[in-house]
């Protein structure tokens, strides 16, 4: 989701991800109404917000494993998925460092990885390239 400042991209994402209730109108995600079937929508989506949403006290790996576990993955599966994503986003060397020691770009990559932990059919990326260097973009 990209757009000019103030265009309402974040608001649109919040509505589509059921975090904000629309004043009027309707929207469907993966065939489900975002108001009447909010729970069903939540099970179908992943979200990478404009701001980092990870735990700064945990390591990158612990963050991904925790999100996987909270999303219903078994412990072994969550660990395997975390390792796979850390490799894919080139964060293996920093995997066991506490998040507050990450650079802005590394946080952003980890945030993107977090949105992919559960392999959601629909993934919302709110200005996902913010903070990434040109090569990473």
């Amino acid at each position: 989701m990209l757009g000019p400042n103030g265009a309402g991209t974040t608001t649109a994402v919040r509505i589509l991800t059921t975090l904000t209730r629309p004043d009027a109108g309707s929207a469907r995600v993966a065939g489900r109404d975002v108001v009447r079937e909010a729970r069903a929508v939540q099970r179908q989506i992943g979200v990478t917000a404009q701001d980092a949403t990870l735990d700064e006290v945990l390591t990158g790996r612990q963050n991904l494993v925790m999100i996987g576990r909270l999303s219903g993955l078994r412990r072994a599966d969550a660990r395997a998925r975390a390792t796979e994503l850390l490799r894919r986003f080139d964060l293996v060397d920093a995997a066991d460092r506490v998040l507050r020691e990450y650079s802005g770009g590394m946080r952003r990559r980890l945030d993107l990885a977090a949105g992919l932990v559960t392999r959601p059919p629909v993934l919302f990326l709110d200005e996902p390239t913010t903070g990434l260097d040109p090569t990473r973009r």
Binding site: V13, L19, Q42, D51, D55, V57, S71, G131
Partner: protein, 163 residues
């Protein structure tokens, strides 16, 4: 079952927090005692209920209900849905998880981040009171929990009156 797993996961996270930031130990030791004493002996002394009932009978049950709601639902919901709310970042914390709230500095420089972290730690109790108790959509759940804990309040009252 999934609720139990969520509780286990978030409890593990909280233990990691305490291990890495020992000052957070006060969140689960001093603060509960402090708040219980505050509500029972300070606020409670100023509340007069009809029929000779004691405010403290309800305060203890109410505090249990509110904490249960916060631990079971608040943190887990924030974690699972990865809220975009600036005050509730990912997972994490009344026993607290995740992380706490406003996660990101306006500018991305490490110095700013450290300053933000210091600021957040200094204002954590106030921040929690100001941002965690949001009326919706948890209001119905809190009311339901209070109703569920009503028998405990009644039991406390009866025990006190029979003694």
């Amino acid at each position: 079952m999934s609720r139990l797993r969520d509780i286990a996961v978030l409890t593990g996270r909280n233990l990691v927090h305490i291990a890495r930031e020992p000052l957070q130990l006060s969140d689960v030791t001093v603060q509960p005692v402090l708040f219980t004493a505050l509500f029972v002996y300070v606020f409670g002394a100023g509340v007069v209920l009809p029929n000779g009932r004691s405010y403290t009978d309800y305060a203890i049950a109410g505090l249990l209900a509110l904490n249960l709601d916060d631990v079971v639902d608040g943190d887990g919901r924030r974690a699972q849905h990865r809220s975009l709310d600036r005050h509730h970042r990912a997972v994490p914390d009344a026993a607290d998880v995740a992380p706490r709230r406003a996660r990101r500095p306006v500018a991305g420089r490490p110095d700013d981040r450290r300053a933000l972290h210091r600021d957040r730690r200094a204002h954590r109790p106030c921040d929690r009171l100001a941002t965690r108790r949001r009326p919706a959509p948890g209001a119905r759940r809190v009311v339901a929990l209070l109703v569920a804990f009503a028998p405990l309040a009644t039991t406390l009252y009866r025990r006190r009156t029979t003694e």
